[in-house]
Symmetry: C2
């Protein structure tokens, strides 16, 4: 299997770094091909702007989505975007390794999504979205560390439900939208608590990496469950 | 009233730009003081890294939150961060003007939150969070444009509930966490549809700007509604 790890942490010796290193070594040992995009090491450009295109379709008004569509049709993306898109097309399984910063991804990873998950590449009038998205046929998994206790992320927890309120905009809004099938995330709660806890997490993650194919998919509705006004049909509620 | 507008769009002639310009002129006309952080024009640095601090507390291991705490105690933030923090302290009301990109803020604005909403400044062991957050006493409002129809963002809509699933990580996770009181967002649905629709939105926004004090707060629970395990007490469910 071709596996791609998108990794966003500024400190190589961090626990995020340890999880990324473990994934690389275990997946290679299991015979998978592995590529890593280490966004901080690459000094990946986070801000979407006009430099992302070789040539603009419209000169006097900059509309990012429109220029993405144009670049998709004319191979007009900046090289760093093109490289990441090629890795996605190569991959069967994509792991996103990051710390939860402000209940979302670090800005360098948000910028990776803004720039790489382009209109005309992962979605668009000729491609579709959700199950028809341009990255269909691939699975994706979030591997996330947080500094807050797990109990605060329950449906009645102080931070909100981790699945339905916090990670939803990533798992459903970005990954499922793109056509990929998101699997249950690997969640690391307050790894700073003890060395013992960190060791246990590494053991758990190793187990999961050995069973990539068996991780349950997150259960989202297929397009056909929605009516023409984009509402979930009554029989599926 | 001191009003601060954080504006994140790469095209000055965009509808986001028009909404920002309208807010500046109306608020000034009403006698408010107005400052604008035009993140694209400022070429605002989006990526949180070691250059954000004059001096590191720990040299051989980079932990962003720890260095933020240290910088808060030693006035050690990079100047661009300090400038934004000073604007926040000056402000009574903060408007965030941005397009919804991948169900969240553009990366340049996410980076603004990652870097400016620092540990030791908006939250921390000596400050607290949510109603005790460092920015308490201030209100905040999201003013957001989307390219998708409103009906898709209902509780049974294809994109998810705009309040509980999409904007929750910003309104609750970032703004409420910081101590600010978030008010109902101003939402602009598919303004590309027609010139007439855009005019109507500008009229609606003008009305709202004239009644800033009367915009309903988003109803979130105060800290005291949660028990010692961070669960909402039964009587408030």
């Amino acid at each position: 299997m071709n596996t791609l790890i998108i990794y966003a942490h500024p400190e190589p010796k961090s626990f995020n770094g340890a999880l990324k290193d473990l994934a690389v070594s275990e997946l290679q040992m299991l015979g998978h091909q592995v590529q890593v995009s280490d966004l901080y090491a690459m000094n990946f450009k986070a801000v979407a702007d006009q430099d992302d295109f070789h040539q603009r379709q419209v000169q006097d008004f900059f509309k990012y989505g429109l220029e993405q569509n144009h670049a998709s049709q004319t191979s007009g993306f900046a090289q760093d975007i093109k490289d990441e898109q090629d890795k996605l097309l190569w991959a069967d399984f994509v792991i996103f390794q990051f710390p939860l910063w402000w209940y979302s991804v670090p800005a360098i990873l948000k910028g990776w999504f803004d720039r790489v998950f382009a209109a005309g590449f992962v979605h668009g009038s000729e491609i579709g979205r959700y199950e028809h998205g341009g990255l269909k046929g691939r699975k994706a998994m979030l591997s996330v560390t947080t500094g807050i206790r797990q109990e605060a992320f329950t449906p009645y927890g102080m931070e909100g439900d981790i699945h339905e309120q916090i990670l939803y905009h990533i798992n459903h809004g970005i990954l499922y939208y793109s056509g990929m099938k998101p699997v249950e995330p690997f969640l690391v709660w307050k790894p700073t608590q003890s060395e013992e806890l960190r060791k246990q997490y590494l053991t758990d993650y190793k187990t999961r990496l050995h069973q990539l194919d068996e991780i349950p998919l997150i259960s989202y509705h297929p397009n056909g469950h929605y009516d023409e006004t984009m509402q979930l049909k009554k029989e599926y509620r």
